[in-house]
Homo-oligomer: 139 residues x 2
Amino acid sequence: MTIKPEIQLDQFGLRSTGSRIAVLAAFQNAGYALSQGDIEQTLSSQFDRVTIYRTLKSFLASGLLHKVLDDQGSIKYALCQDMCHQDTHQHDHVHFKCTQCGQTTCLETVHIPQIILPENFIKQESNLLIQGVCRGCNS
Amino acid sequence: MTIKPEIQLDQFGLRSTGSRIAVLAAFQNAGYALSQGDIEQTLSSQFDRVTIYRTLKSFLASGLLHKVLDDQGSIKYALCQDMCHQDTHQHDHVHFKCTQCGQTTCLETVHIPQIILPENFIKQESNLLIQGVCRGCNS
DNA sequence: CTGTGTGCAAACACTTTGCAGGTGT
DNA sequence: ACACCTGCAAAGTGTTTGCACACAG
């Protein structure tokens, strides 16, 4: 189920403003990762481009969104899930980008296996992007 | 050991020109992933910025380089290794980006484990970027 | 000689910054 | 009331395209 944007914003210590509610709702509706450009289109320029950049930045900082890597270099964002709260995050899931529909989704159920690094390397964070054909396009 | 740029270019069906030799040599010397900007700096603007973009593009197309993801969205490139030839590629190794020195290296010896995707997802390619502290900086 | 690569100029796309005015709490 | 958010303008950065000339094979 989907939490009402105003409430979720409040939970993350963010003020409820028009643009924030709209951007958050866009993520909730999409269900997949969005870039700044995607959001601008979705909201059909209701809000200034700059505002969206700043909104994304504050969402990232507050822990409402996490970054999703892309093979084209365009950074995308996705909603953090239940295991994530303002401070504790849980992001070891796999991201899947479909080469047909272009959508990048979080596969919450698929986790990044533990990787053994060579001596003296310290791991802090990891990102796994798998590309291929998604369920919807594979028919 | 390092192959002479002219010979390697020829092996991949590319003409030997000044910029291509210089760019390829830059990758050989660096030993880690470079972005367009890194190359421009390394070659201290000996060549036009546009030429470098086009050189990278042709290297990618011919299979001499492969893309390396970055958490900032700036795409980097790294030399393909021995297992790679014009047609057959082998890129299931891990990329490691050091948060201190900023270098992204290919950990050729660390492979991406097999991931089991949900029903009906077809995997074509995968990219694993691990961030942390590298051997050199961890002292 | 021929087709491909290069340099320059310009266009295009993406992101950030400064500032004045508006808004949530 | 106050701090924070927004919109606009502008600058900064990264990447692509068109065209004339140069060069590798």
